[in-house]
Symmetry: C2
Subunit: 72 residues, 2 copies
């Protein structure tokens, strides 16, 4: 698991605001891509590549993704 | 829908890297809270409050959340 100082700060802030029930916080990025693709398997392969090449900084971040079928 | 300049930049960058199938990108924050709560309804009410008071900047961000039951 990657170190998350921002998560610790948010947990402290929530405690200060009166939310002692917060046991932990993880802060990350959420990226939603709209893709033109015929096959889910192709889309998954391409998105994994995009994550490794551009979207995710592997030194300080983990990543995961889901493919959802859309219209067309 | 909130304006998302960072999403436009990521779309352009992905096109430059050879991913023309990317039609659009939205970039946001993902926050995972671990909570101690007896009732899902209570947890949802409290989390909504946390979003409005601290986690979400209503001027430039929308938010949504899901409650998932965990261990205890």
């Amino acid at each position: 698991m990657v170190n998350d100082p921002q998560g610790l700060v948010v947990t402290d802030a929530l405690h200060s605001l009166g939310y002692p029930e917060v046991l932990g916080t993880r802060v990350g990025k959420y990226i939603r891509l709209e893709l033109a693709a015929d096959l889910e398997s192709t889309a998954a392969k391409r998105v994994d590549e995009m994550c490794r090449r551009l979207l995710c900084n592997g030194v300080i971040e983990d990543y995961s993704f889901e493919i959802a079928a859309g219209m067309s």
